[in-house]
């Protein structure tokens, strides 16, 4: 694939999928600036291997894997200097439905406090609706580890919500 053809092919893919990938990035990071940074850096890496990735049946799975790895890497390095740009490619609007309750806010805060792998497991299982096996494939861990991640996340969620209620 020549440079021009590669760029055109990649750009077409990104245009078609960027909405979905941006939502995934936001759920992983919890804020629009980090989500934008994560998606940009992940897509830059994906573009570097586009000749290979474009030939696989499900590029989305590969891209999500890159995003999860990238996010985990960020989290491991406390000293990372994240770029925040003034231009906003991702914006988060208030939910169109009923106003957010205190309960929802607590729940979201709890999701944001999960460790990256746990959080990625939760997002892949309950937002992306992936199976445990598919989630394990993206996270690069065993199915048992996925079960353990989601189970711990739910247990912790139950504890937190009990505390909030009481």
């Amino acid at each position: 694939m020549g440079d021009t053809e590669r760029e055109a092919d990649f750009s077409a893919y990104v245009r078609a999928r960027q909405g979905s990938l941006a939502r995934f990035a936001y759920l992983l990071t919890g804020d629009p600036h980090s989500a934008q940074d994560l998606l940009q850096s992940s897509l830059a890496k994906v573009y570097g291997r586009w000749d290979h990735i474009s030939t696989v049946e499900a590029p989305d799975a590969y891209v999500r894997k890159v995003m999860v790895n990238e996010h985990t890497t960020w989290w491991r390095r406390a000293w990372r200097h994240r770029e925040r740009t003034d231009s906003e490619l991702i914006r988060v609007l208030d939910p169109a439905a009923a106003p957010e309750t205190a309960h929802d806010a607590e729940l979201w805060a709890h999701v944001c406090s999960l460790a990256p792998q746990q959080r990625a497991a939760v997002v892949l299982r309950y937002y992306e609706d992936l199976s445990e096996a598919q989630t394990a494939e993206i996270l690069g861990v065993s199915v048992g580890t996925v079960k353990s991640h989601t189970s711990r996340a739910l247990s912790s969620l139950r504890r937190t919500m009990k505390e909030v209620t009481s």
């Binding site: 960027q18 909405g19 989500a35 570097g48």
Partner: protein
Amino acid sequence: MTTTDHENELQTLLRQRAAGVEVSGDFGPVAVARRRRDQRTRAALAAAAAVAVVAVAVPVLWLSDRDPSPPVPALPTATTSLPTPSGSVRSTSPTDLPSSTAATVPSPSVATRADAYALDDTIRFGDTVVQLEKGTVVESLAVLANGGFVLQSHLSTGSSQSEMEILSPTGRTVRALGASGTYAVSPDGTRVLAKDGTGDTLVVYAPDGTVVGQRRDAREVGAVVRGVAYLNGDSAQGSLRWDLATGDTSPLPAHLVAVSPDGTRAALQWTVTTDAQDEVCWSVVDLTRPRFPQTVEKCGPGENPTMFMPTAFSSKGTYLVGSHYVDGGFWFSAGVVRVADGTVVLGGTGAALVSGWSWHLDDDESTVVISRNTSRPVSPATSNALQRCSLDLACTDVQPRVALRDRGGLTEPRYVVSR
């Protein structure tokens, strides 16, 4: 509540949150540009400290045999532009010097690594301004032995694809080297090793654009030193020593990224893949002994916590110049380490961070010239200056701070330091 209730509640919350996410631009071009920038910076930093100061006393600007114009005085004169027979729109023009000064002190001026830099679409050295094509965004710049340049750039409008070319001392294109590629310049500025991004051919050029050697090879640009080109190969290929005079080749250790100016040592840099894909290693090997023994190695978070990536030796071989790793940013973290023991002498994290875009260590091995990110905080990057810094980070602005423009989420520097 049961587990299923919690799962449902969690699912509803995630969907509600995700529903509020809107994308208001196009990530494709930004990601492509970012990828190219990362590649270019790796290449741009290569050999950054190795180009010698040369040709200071050349009395006239020397033009290649592809450039039919006669030699012209290097100092700006009353002429505001030079003829461009090749069709290029580059021109040389006087700077803000009072005309009386220019008229009465016609001392020749030739670019050197010590004084050449780019600002927006110009190359500047001494009192000379070489005007590049309007809208040129300079990505990297190197000065050659004849006072000419290797320029990697793209236009601010249209395709973001970068192009490499050799320019004459007046800024006229004498040779196009290809698109989206990488290059290295020899320490004496007499050879350019380049590989364009579209094929597997490595070419060595003289400053006048003449082809000195050519080789089909999947390896990448490593270095070119003392008549030898060094090609960087992965662990399957290994690197390669290519004698340009005889054409002889011999194998070298994989991941070669720089060679000392005396040709006795090489720096290797590689990544160890982990779950997080974030372990960076580097080493120095002795090229004069059989099996190329390592003299120093720093690998992984314990030994190389700032993930230093060497790209060039300093002019006397005392230091390695490169960058500490910053992921996801639009600026880079300058780094200098001591070759003998791998001690970091410039850059790092926290207060030691030196944020910028391009830099080199001068031939005195004690002064870093850097296109510095002068924003506080460093992100978002909004301000850029050309600075000279000691290794203990006492810095002075040598060119004034300028505001940065944000191009669709991709911040680009306005000053570019010559390699």
